[in-house]
Symmetry: C2
Subunit: 264 residues, 2 copies
């Protein structure tokens, strides 16, 4: 069992170290992670520039690889043959939860997407650290990550499915359990913040308060609000199946199509 | 009707000009697009640096706005109030198709995702330009884009749904029609290309042949192979519903959970 560990916070992030250490009892671990923070960077495939890879050392002395690419680039490089064949990709531990719409922005989650596209199981782990905690304890979350990875190694994942795992910030004895959820609804509270530089020219921050969510039962956000670890299976088929029929009922043009019938 | 036009190829791309011109009969058009190419850049929210916005002029003399942010940042800036309220966001016309798994990588598509997150209808337009065409004719595709946008303005889109529109490279008289499809399967043919710089240090390209796809009937890729315009409704709920049951049947741990029951 060869496990690739990556993240979107950069190779020296403490959440990555905790995840790498948690995976070690399960197999051989290789770390290949970005050399900087790529939070909210999305699903990237870097095609317009080459990527550098260099060796580094984690805080516990573990050798690791780092690149100037995105989290999904790290996974692509690894699975295209930079390192020996990988059986499982784990990403994280992100210091903030990745709920709802976060999943397409999140480097943590898109790294796991990249694995699934290459037919390798992918798991994304995120910890819901309270806003005032700048030095979170990743130990309980890392133990959860090991349990989830162990189970996935034993059972396998359905084809095309990745797991988005969100872990509440609780002590080991406080978790209510693990539940399988659906993706919930994020509520973003972004605001445009206009400032002026010393020359009087405007610039803009995407600011505002941290996002919240709708704590509906059965969802990722709802599970964490109740003290459960949330595991949401995600797929890369985004087809809105419930919309297919209504769109097919539209008359796409009253005039005959130039040169052909309209087929709804 | 106020229509925001953006893209992922940069504000001076001819596909954007064709789209902006095509939208003009439908309402007021504002162009806000990146100042460089962001292809395969994914769904980005730039929070770690401020964004600049400057005025520019398109090749036909149209005033436009451009930023150093990603396509999804352009949409966020606009919808957060940089410009007056927007009723419809259109993105493109991308000079390459966006099929299957492309949708989470694609700046063209993620711009439309950003619109939908803000409850504004979003449409992504991509043209399947043949590989040897470096100066494609966007006119037929732009006419299709106007027809689709006109229909969406008249009918409205289901909540949370964006449209991923792929247009075959055909003359007006050659289109077989418009069909509503599901997201198909991309086949990537990426290869790791290792090179050495003049100092003998390695660097890596994600290279290989252009992706292909599985031309299954009813899918985006299948529709274009048959000469149809493909419209795929997409949603941002990625929950793999078919996997929920099997994951719930797993025993997550044989030992009792520390401090609580396991709930499948």
């Amino acid at each position: 069992m060869h496990i690739l560990v990556t993240n979107d916070d950069g190779v020296q992030a403490p959440g990555l170290l905790a995840l790498a250490q948690a995976m070690r009892p399960l197999g051989k671990v290789t770390v290949l992670a970005p050399d900087r923070n790529w939070s909210a960077s999305g699903h990237v495939k870097t095609l317009d520039r080459p990527l550098r890879v260099r060796e580094t050392i984690l805080a516990d002395g573990t050798p690791a690889l780092t690149t100037d690419g995105a989290p999904s680039d790290c996974v692509a490089l690894a699975l295209l043959g930079l390192i020996e064949p990988v059986d499982l990709v784990v990403s994280g531990i992100n210091p903030h939860a990745n709920f709802g719409h976060d999943v397409t922005y999140s480097g943590t989650v898109t790294a796991a997407m990249e694995a699934v596209i290459a037919d390798v199981p992918g798991l994304a782990f995120s910890l819901e650290t309270p806003h005032n905690h700048h030095n979170p304890d990743y130990t309980p979350a890392a133990n959860i990550a090991r349990r989830v990875a162990k189970k996935v190694i034993a059972e396998g994942l359905p084809e095309g499915v990745l797991l988005n795992v969100n872990i509440p910030y609780l002590k080991e004895t406080e978790f209510k359990g693990i539940i399988i959820t659906r993706q919930g609804l994020r509520v973003y509270r972004d605001e445009l913040v206009r400032r002026e530089d010393p020359q009087g020219r405007p610039y803009y921050w995407i600011g505002g308060e941290a996002p919240t969510g709708i704590a509906e039962s059965g969802t990722d956000f709802g599970a964490l609000a109740e003290g459960y670890v949330s595991i949401t299976p995600l797929q890369l088929d985004l087809t809105a199946r419930t919309a297919l029929e209504s769109l097919r009922s539209w008359e796409w043009d009253s005039r005959p199509s130039p040169g052909g019938r309209e087929k709804g």
